[in-house]
């Protein structure tokens, strides 16, 4: 069974076809890249999968279950986590609380347990804190656990976004430009990190990225979008020389040197 199966997915904003007849199938354990020029509709695809936009047409199946049109928090509870292109951390909360809040839907204590600090409250809080710290440890953020998220340096904020996504125990991880604004050395580390968390947490990964170094290194398969449509699909080596892809990125009349 495929982890994710998208068929005929479209999203129109008035006359603008942001995503048009998009399809994608992800098998368990794959790392797939989604690339394309600015405005091609990549992030819109993420927003459709995570339920932030209702699709105009099409279906999204996750582990064989139809999740089309489900509210974002419900999609997340099914097992899809994401990061954001423009980092969206809870900046004034501590790093630890950024991760702990993701455990909320698994917490069983009720309002009275919280208000009266019952043993059940303490037990669950301790468990959640321990689990959150474990994830922070994996991403090398333990030292900053009690600092506010907004005070972290840029690279650490990117890592915290991934930590927060992992806290939901997802099966599918959507990364929206995880290496944006990073230098080549940092990009290389990000490639390692994504590979590592994929193995460690047994994930399927779909990644949007402009840094070709990252995409070509990391992904087994690449989907190229332009003007809301898929224009090419295949392994990195093939995509690199696909004339349609070169045209989309660089314009007509360019040949491969």
């Amino acid at each position: 069974m495929s982890v994710l199966k998208i068929e005929g997915l479209s999203k129109y904003f008035g006359g603008l076809k942001a995503v048009n007849n998009f399809h994608l199938t992800l098998e368990a354990g794959e790392i797939v890249g989604l690339i394309g020029p600015n405005g091609a509709g990549k992030t819109t695809v993420f927003n459709l999968i995570t339920g932030l936009y209702p699709p105009t047409a099409g279906t999204i199946q996750f582990l064989g279950e139809d999740i089309t049109g489900l509210a974002p928090y419900k999609v997340m509870r099914k097992g899809i986590a994401r990061t954001f292109q423009n980092i969206r951390l809870f900046k004034n909360n501590t790093v630890l609380d950024n991760v702990r809040v993701v455990f909320n839907h698994r917490i069983r204590y009720n309002l009275f347990d919280a208000m009266l600090r019952t043993p059940r409250f303490s037990r669950e809080e301790d468990a959640v804190t321990a689990e959150a710290l474990e994830i922070l440890g994996v991403l090398n953020l333990t030292e900053r656990a009690l600092d506010t998220a907004g005070s972290l340096p840029y690279g650490a904020q990117r890592r915290l976004e991934i930590a927060r996504a992992l806290a939901g125990k997802p099966r599918l991880l959507l990364l929206d430009e995880p290496a944006a604004g990073m230098n080549p050395a940092e990009v290389a580390r990000m490639v390692e990190l994504v590979r590592f968390v994929k193995e460690r947490f047994d994930l399927t990964v779909l990644v949007i990225e402009h840094q070709m170094g990252l995409v070509m290194n990391l992904c087994e398969r690449i989907v190229v979008m332009d003007f809301g449509q898929i224009i090419a699909e295949g392994p990195p080596a093939e995509i690199r020389h696909n004339p349609q892809v070169l045209e989309a990125y660089l314009g007509k009349g360019v040949t491969v040197a």
Binding site: M76, R77, F90, N93, E143, D147
Partner: protein, 335 residues
């Protein structure tokens, strides 16, 4: 129930504070007028904590807080006036009824309006405040007991300092326990970034409605105490300007700081009454100018509020993280 070291410290300090205030009273160092101001400051603290939950912690801008304060006051007041006659259990039941009624109405109007974005929410709650004020002004046409625009009197004045102090103390503890739980984390996540909170699995509508209902119920509870401490209820005590008072306290204290709300609420009430003496009868209306000036100056010099999201250490549960830097541990929120 496991009592942390911090809870013990809070309990001991509250007891000390209580003894100090009572001895000062016993020594007749403060007259009944200032005792009334002291009680009022605790009542306003309870109400302001409610708005702190709604706006400071959850980020939902409300301009109608005094309406819920008034609903609680009238509900508790009229119940005790008609049936309670100042019997203590009835008094407690009536203020609980006031809180429940305010919370219930908050739930009914919160469900539709909390879907709005923050600035529109301000307008919607402002509208609700006006509806409640007009309803109070004309309440005597439906039920003469409520008095309408001439106000209502006759509620037994049974709210002693002891009762108000104990309730204020309990509410501070409950709010603190709420804030430092999964519920509080959901609220602050929504304040920081509602879309991200949604994508991280938080049912944002539910969390917002819960914070709004609890916050308004606290306002209702404060109103119920007010009705039992001040013999005359009048619609103008619960109008837009009163909502603005609560808002000022929360903003001046610093959004996302309980400590800021509590300290500012107490200081604010004493300041307003103090100015009455400093300015004298002829200049009493200049109070409005002075407190607006305080607001303007604070916002220019310290836009994050007096406490800027920091909490008194005793409020923040200690989490031991091996290998974490310690210096920022008391900083629950910064700006």
């Amino acid at each position: 129930m496991r009592l942390s070291r911090q809870s013990v410290v809070i309990l001991v300090l509250a007891a000390v504070l209580y003894v100090v205030i009572r001895s000062v009273e016993a020594a007749e160092l403060i007259n009944p007028y200032w005792r009334m101001v002291l009680d009022q400051s605790l009542i306003i603290t309870i109400g302001a904590l409610g708005l702190s939950l709604i706006y400071g912690f959850t980020g939902q801008f409300s301009l109608g807080h005094a309406a819920f304060y008034g609903l609680g006051a009238y509900t508790a007041g009229v119940i005790d006036k008609l049936w309670g006659h100042g019997i203590f259990p009835f008094f407690i039941l009536s203020i609980i009824a006031g809180a429940l009624f305010a919370g219930f109405l908050a739930f009914v109007i919160g469900l539709p309006i909390l879907r709005l974005r923050s600035d529109y929410l301000g307008i919607a709650t402002l509208g609700f405040g006006i509806i409640v004020k007009v309803a109070m002004d004309n309440s005597n046409k439906l039920w003469p007991v409520l008095g309408g625009a001439t106000g209502m009197s006759g509620t037994p004045q049974v709210a002693s300092f002891d009762v108000i102090f104990v309730i204020a103390f309990l509410m501070i503890l409950l709010v603190r326990n709420f804030v430092f739980s999964s519920y509080g984390r959901a609220c602050t996540a929504i304040r920081e970034d509602e879309i991200a909170a949604d994508v991280m699995g938080i049912d944002t509508t539910r969390a917002k409605v819960l914070a709004f209902v609890l916050g308004c119920a606290l306002a209702g509870l404060a109103g119920g105490l007010y009705a039992h401490r001040y013999p005359f209820l009048h619609p103008s005590s619960f109008d837009f300007l009163k909502s603005f008072d609560f808002l000022l306290i929360v903003v001046l204290g610093g959004l996302g700081s309980m400590t800021g709300t509590i300290v500012t609420a107490v200081c604010w009430v004493f300041l307003l009454e103090g100015l009455r003496f400093v300015l004298g009868q002829n200049f009493i209306d200049f109070r409005g100018v002075i407190y607006a000036l305080i607001l303007v100056i604070t916002i220019i010099l310290r836009p994050q509020g007096i406490f800027g999201g920091r909490e008194w250490k005793m409020f923040v549960p200690v989490i031991n993280v091996a290998g974490a830097r310690k210096e920022d541990a008391d900083r629950h929120v910064s700006t």
